[in-house]
Amino acid sequence: MSTGHSKAAKEFLKNQTYSKWHDATFWAVRTKRDNMAYGLDEWEQLREKASQIKRHTITHLDEYLDQFAKKAEENGCIVHWAKDAHEFNEIVYGILKNHNVKKLVKSKSMLTEECEMNPYLEAHGIEVVETDLGERIIQLKGQKPSHIVMPAIHLNHDDVGELFEEKLGSEKGNHDPTYLTYVARLSLRNEFLTADAGMTGGNFGIAETGDIVVCTNEGNADMSTSCPKLHIAAIGLEKIIPNYDCLAVFQRMLCRAGTGQPTTTYTSHFRKARPTAHPMHIVLVDNGRSEWIGNPEHWEALKCIRCGSCMNTCPVYRRSGGYSYSYFIPGPIGINLGMLRDTQQHSGNVSACTLCLSCQTVCPVKVNLGDQIYQWRQQLDDFGTANPQKKLMCKGMSTIFGSSGIYNFGTALAHWANIIPSPIINCGLNPWAEGHKMMEFPKKPFHKIIKDLEK
């Protein structure tokens, strides 16, 4: 009866020391977020405005996209449109090939993960170097991100230390995070200086000015675009917002919600290439978004600004880790985006939710994440991905709860189950006994207690 998620979570939970650390670490980030939110009287007003701006923008996105592209072209940028992941990869490779690029440095971009750009470019002979420290760590390790903002959160400082000893020649046994960060700095500095092109994602695109806005703490997006002669920015369609007044709302919330900081260190506006570089390229990527907007229950997933706060607060994410989900974005938003992408492949994730709705309570743009997960669950049978065992149980329960006679008969007899010896009742054949002990049935059912009281 276990879903893919719960099976993977079981593996994650085998290392109790680590899983406790993971839970506590994300709860600490959630607490930092709370401190930021409580520090602003206008926080809830900002959330409401942010949600309204996004609702407006994504239901008028065709106009804003057109405005953005025209403005960016006026600024001297070259704008490309990719309808899917494959086309995106081809476009990027085409630009790189035209400029004879051998090495590309890039800042963090979930879009390039979504499109699996790195393996595509590498297969075409281009060296791709991730420059966000977390992304660089997992790239060296040959892994995928386990969180959208803290991609290497599944590794501890010893894991990173050993990795750097092997890959970057760091001192043996020195696993101090400050030292390791310095080792990565030196190594990445060399990459920045020798790369032929830099790529950034984008947190926002501003329709009125054509700016691509990138928020980082490390300054790696700025380093990636300061030395190489070519800058390619890649963003999903839904990242476009109307103007600076809207940006102010999101800039104030993104980092407070995501990491509990008042701002990222750098909030950089890229409008055109620097004077000594080639024209800047912007690639706008659809890859499903123009269909998702028409989805009656799930269109609001397009409001997401990828802050990560829903996963930080999620009791299931905190206790199961990013790798327990089948989609590359984990947590509540990842469950929903995964289902929009492919219901067959990602139905196993919808069980990774207790419907506590903490996610939509903290979401800075009020995406109704938990409600959407509930909706997906109602559709599993239509997708043919409902679990047959659970279906059978539901049918059985409908029969029992649908008839007071059968129900009363059952509850009156249930206490006889108590005399079944524990090794038999708590064995593997009883799915209820997995992870919990079988409950003891009362001799007097609840209905009987109430009836006796009324006498």
């Binding site: 996209l65 995070p177 310095y182 369609l237 008042p262 890229f270 659809d286």
Partner: protein, 207 residues
């Protein structure tokens, strides 16, 4: 049909199908009024800006009337060999981001000195439009010094975005900088000095 038209047409059709309201004849949601946001303000913006800068790992020094910033920077970084700046008032610069051959020639800069236009009290951001040929100086320097007139502090980002401007000559880039480059990507331990400046100091200039 081009990709652009194709994508926009599909998007428009799906929006219309889901969001067209026959009664009002409108499609989709209206833009909210943003003028009524009750954003935080501070009785002393400068004090708040200083407090926030320190809390994000930056330093602040108030420059006194008549004090020489060149002397001050020398005192702050006595071992600095390479100082990069294109500001006319900086006479101790050994490199100029306007005249270097390539951006990468700025690597190895101990101190970069740049100008900020205004600061933001709520989060210590300083608006730095590109005012030099190679913006690398803002990031590649080990230590960054930002000159900022102390009267130029706004309360919050709403005010900030009402007044940001790009440079006339270098009109392609501008950034808000709040403290030094930092990361917590290794086991959530906060480390200053990830890929860009390892320290950031704001010199508050008298009017």
């Amino acid at each position: 049909m081009s990709n652009k038209e194709d994508i926009l047409k599909r998007y428009r059709a799906n929006v219309r199908e889901k969001f067209f309201d026959e009664r009002s004849g409108k499609t989709g949601y209206d833009m909210p009024d943003l003028s009524d946001i009750k954003a935080i303000t501070y009785s002393d913006k400068l004090v708040q800006f200083i407090k926030m800068t320190e809390s994000v790992g930056g330093h602040v020094i108030e420059v006194k009337e008549g004090q020489d910033i060149n002397k001050l920077v020398k005192e702050m970084y006595p071992d600095a060999k390479e100082i990069a700046s294109n500001l006319p008032e900086v006479t101790i610069a050994t490199r100029n981001p306007d005249t270097v051959g390539r951006a990468r020639d700025l690597n190895g800069t101990d101190v970069g000195i740049i100008r900020g236009m205004f600061g933001v009290a709520e989060n210590a951001c300083v608006w730095v439009p590109q005012t030099m040929k190679e913006k690398a100086v803002c990031f590649i320097s080990e230590n960054l010094v930002i000159l900022l007139p102390k009267s130029q502090i706004v309360n919050n980002m709403h005010e900030a975005y009402k007044r940001i401007e790009f440079d006339k000559e270098y009109d392609g880039y501008g950034t808000f900088i709040s403290g030094p480059s930092k990361t917590a990507d290794i086991a959530q331990v906060l480390v200053m000095g990830a890929q860009a400046a390892r320290s950031a100091t704001v010199l508050l200039l008298p009017e």
